[in-house]
Symmetry: C3
Subunit: 491 residues, 3 copies
């Protein structure tokens, strides 16, 4: 760049290191306005200490069953959290420098202290993001850190966290109590044998750590491992999956196993929300053709849509709540996928249609008292246009909490502002967290309670509801509505 | 659901009945911030008592012509208001329990007091919704109720309302005065003989209660009753509609009749905003084929789009203002339609395109001084992207008020925030209500004045306009702009 | 319209002329809330006086090279600014009355004082628009006007401005200093010989006024002048463009000339963001066919998409930053185009897809350290759904500032609220102005600094970042990030 484009030279005053103590302000994330904040604080105080219902977790059951100590600060807080690593990658830091494993086994940074320094040195990238908010909460509340992350403080913070996670009270199962988690669900493939849940049951945690049935890998016939997955499904279910009818029976068997292991829900990550059914014959033919060789992209989508419809029917049989998470184009950069695998921050949302897409399923099951579906989106435009009107009409439907990128202060606020007027509060699921970062779970629930309190406080001050109602609603959104939304239907 | 999922047991304190007196706070729906509220209140006070212009009503002319007393509280406030009933249906209450008639004449709840109890017992579902806001206003201002609805208060409130509507001053025509309604428009099919408007003219109300021409039923050739409707159109107009040319002549005749009855506008509810014309020959052929038998869905849409284009041309001939309300997929659940008929809360919005869709019409008539079109949407994404840029360019076009689900505090706020910077205030229509709930009309106008005052107050405090300008603008949005927008063009 | 629809008669009090002195409040456009405003003011004070980086200007290089005085107030502030003229056209004022030239040379208003009176008489139309905000700033800060525009003040204001622009200190080059413009880019067609930039270099301004390479006219093979443009490209580059290979070579030659003239960026205004490449053979065949005669609309779009992909490759060769401005349907009304030419306020946005459209380009170049692309949109729905997730992942990608209609107080606020949580601040370009109205440039930069300060102040008060961080971020958004975003990559 030309010489005239030098950076403003005299910025050293503001570029100095931030030496303040790291603290959490008791009023963080409550409204800026003093009067609104005072009301919000009163509401928040009534929901702040309620136990946590965590129905969409991504922590592996094995972690709880094994209950091993966490490895180190970088492996706990940086490397596995693609929200955190993608932000550094977006500024030109190579995934390898962050210790993200390569598919080909090539060399990546293995010095966790070095990875941690890179992370702390890039702390400013997270300004204004929810990652920053979670991380501050975790550092202070969970790990007792009192320094602001930066180049100069990285080592000291690393040592503080490392010492803490070596303590017996910081093992995964102990954190369940410390975090006040009443119920947590893992997310498990249809082919899971649920062995770790069996171990947990043996440890008396069978009703506290429950599985969720996620059959994406067997619903998408274009996935590289699809045939192997159907074979594995046959093996674990003991049902021959070489025909479509067998495939459905195997799914039913696994759903029964999940129910037996305490499962309350299924989960479905599809590109589109389409639920158009095929005829049973056409589905059977397509299934057979997919087993034999490649099918067209249109057929892949058609089968996935059909399986959502079929799943709704199965939900009526066994009462599992059906969660749908559509609208994300996975692995936008195939080079990152090939080099580092899935879930590396390159899943990008697309516009998602619900009104027409869900219609076949809702026409058939939308008024069935045995059916419950919870919808999530990363396309905010559908809140007021499609999801709230649908949830404000169909008894089987609840709106899930703001998801993924939208699980954030502004995202949560916009959700309540856009959805409440048409759907009310009682057609929403209440808060649902969705994270691989176990230590961030309390921060996420706490933030949600604060944002809901802020929104409710505004309604109180605008004289649209009473403070009494606001408190009752806050408690419902925090605790009662998630329990109701995820109660298994009586089939 | 598993035993661990019991509801939080000790919530009885917040679950106690709400015994406060039902009142309307004078500052309700004004901004929460004290300083902004003070400015907003000053602005609101200047617009608060202006008369009401109600150009998109759904109250039948017969109601005013007959001037019978309203039946009872449930039949007035609950049963016909699908905003209210759908919310209870969405929580699993059967439409039959709410007294919603069945198409097959099957049994539904007929005890209005029982329906009223169900409604009051579900009062909390409406928290944060505009229905709650309208209903509170109606209960206090119109019916003098001073109790918060609930299980324990339902009967007392029922009696209070029942007593009030028995009074002579609470008949429909008397409410026109009480509500300060200067002008109200009904919505009438193209086939209406306008007999009730003739009766109203005889009662001296011919210029106060005017018809709006809504030809949807004859523009959509796939509707079950379409052929019968065209026959009825021929009958009422005295023009043979067995050819396309006759069909157009019959429409022109009815438009003349509506003009003669004081009509100022036409109204068009289409799935899409498409205005692409067909050739006259192609339109005539399609019309003939549709009379003879079914045509394809694409042809149905093409004819509807063509008729919007044709309507714009007729508007230039007779000066009727053309309202377009696109983007709603009617009767999403065909089971509800079959069992209970249309307008039962199962009309769901879809994404709607305007820029390309309106282009044919605006290319041809957009600069014609005889043409005026007012656009409504339930897809908020088009405010800043398409509608405001179009309204900020074409002299024939005005943006209607936030419609349907968006006729709400947050919906109105977002509209001003999204549309004003590009379209200004003076390319909007000012407030237009749209309701079947006659008693809610004053509440709706009042809320709009409050929200506009709040938005204007913010502009004042951000020093973007003066307070003097804010007051003038508030008066224009409330009264002058609707009168200008709906003034019949001189053809 | 019927007699009952007379305007509210007694509005004369509020209709009186606005006699206040025109002033700029020091806290304008800062948050309305007192506490938030105080914090915002402290942040703003740190960025308010930084120099201006203007990387997307539409002022012609000739204006600076000639340095002639501006003609008169109407020709400076009204006639060429289609934001201003379209608003008056939207209220029924003919373009001719505003002095907008006709393509056929037909008569238009030539009395600038008369045009100015029309403009001042319609001052209220601009309430709540950014045009109003810029104009107030220009009138007071640049031209020393102290009267509120209106019918009665029009002549006095005209005289004040006319006197000011006659002063030697108000010539274009002098305004560069007065406005504290460190760097300004013009926008130049691929066929420009850059003669005025050569003159500027001779005047010592070669690094302060730089060109931007905008090849839209040669990328869209359906434009009426396309063949003539390719011929002109051959002439100015000295490279035969009768083949596709020659066409690419000619583009490369011109890019080198732009780089030599100080150019830092290219700019691309396409209807869609599609970047799907064609095979080189297919592109060559299509190019040859387009030279020989018309091609299909699909082919036009395919070639434009291909050329975006090709441009990204060239950017890796020479380091020019690639700006993409998609999603505007140009010349919505062909009658206005035929009568008055392009850029008359009838360019209307359409929904724009980025996730899939940019994928081919980002798959190939998204991780290339030599590549930098900056994305703009007039479709706000993509901020949180597509653009922020993309910018939060790909190192080559930065989000541009809110563009066109969205370059406004609410538009800027919504951008930060929607984009920051997912992309952070450091994946945005910082402020980029985009205007034909040279005198409005300081107002635009100042507004951006105010809105960013307001947003940052809220984060401070919600305890999401420290005030120290807020100040540093404000300075980065104002000055450092635009310099970084537009630094030419080392190829």
């Amino acid at each position: 760049m030309s010489a005239s484009l030098e950076l403003q030279p005299d910025l050293h005053r503001s570029r100095r290191a931030d030496k303040r103590e790291l603290t959490l302000h008791p009023d963080r994330a409550l409204p800026a306005d003093t009067r609104q904040r005072a009301v919000a604080r009163e509401i928040y105080e009534q929901s702040a200490r309620l136990p946590l219902i965590c129905m969409h977790g991504h922590v592996e059951a094995e972690v709880f069953a094994d209950n091993k100590p966490f490895t180190d600060p970088a492996q706990l807080l940086v490397v596995p959290d693609h929200y955190v690593t993608r932000m550094m990658v977006s500024q030109g830091i190579a995934p390898e420098a962050l210790g993200i494993p390569r598919v080909d086994g090539g060399a990546v940074e293995t010095d966790s202290r070095d990875i941690w320094r890179t992370f702390c040195g890039n702390w400013k990238l997270f300004r204004g993001t929810p990652s920053r908010y979670w991380l501050e909460h975790e550092l202070v509340e969970v790990f007792g850190v009192d320094l602001v992350p930066g180049v100069e403080t990285a080592d000291a913070i690393y040592d503080q966290i490392a010492a803490r996670i070596a303590e017996p009270g910081f093992r995964p199962r102990q954190l369940l109590d410390r975090f006040s988690i009443e119920l947590i669900s893992t997310t498990d493939p249809a082919t899971s044998d649920l062995r770790h849940h069996a171990r947990l049951a043996g440890q008396g945690l069978g009703e506290r750590v429950v599985p969720t049935f996620r059959p994406d890998a067997v619903f998408h016939v274009d996935r590289p491992g699809w045939r192997a997955e159907t074979a594995r499904l046959a093996e674990v279910s003991g049902v021959d999956t070489s025909t479509y009818a067998g495939f459905l029976d195997a799914l039913r068997e696994r759903r029964r196993a999940f129910v037996a292991a305490g499962g309350l829900a299924t989960d479905h990550g599809h590109l589109s929300a389409d639920t158009t059914p095929m005829s049973e014959t056409a589905a059977a033919v397509l299934y057979a053709r997919a087993l034999a060789g490649p099918v067209s992209p249109e057929e892949v989508q058609a089968f996935a849509a059909h399986m959502l419809f079929v799943t709704a029917g199965m939900a009526c049989e066994d009462g599992l709540v059906m969660q749908i998470h559509p609208g994300v184009l996975r692995d936008h950069h195939t080079g990152v996928l090939a080099r580092h695998g899935q879930d590396k921050g390159f899943d990008i949302p697309v516009a998602t249609e619900f009104t027409r897409s869900l219609r076949p399923m809702l026409e058939r099951y939308g008024h069935d008292p045995r059916f419950r579906t919870i919808l999530f989106t990363v396309d905010e435009t559908v809140y007021s246009r499609e999801l709230a009107p649908l949830a404000g009409a169909y008894p089987s439907l609840r709106l899930g909490a703001p998801w993924w990128f939208l699980d954030s202060p502004e995202g949560m606020r916009r959700f309540r502002e856009a959805a409440t007027e048409t759907a009310g509060f009682y057609n929403t699921s209440g808060f649902v967290d969705d994270t691989r970062a176990f230590a961030s779970i309390p921060a996420r629930h706490d933030l949600s309670r604060r944002i809901d309190a802020g929104y409710l406080a505004r309604l109180v001050l605008e004289h649209r509801i009473s403070q009494h109602e606001a408190v009752e609603t806050a408690i419902d959104l925090t605790y009662n509505l998630p329990k109701i939304a995820y109660s298994r239907r009586s089939a």
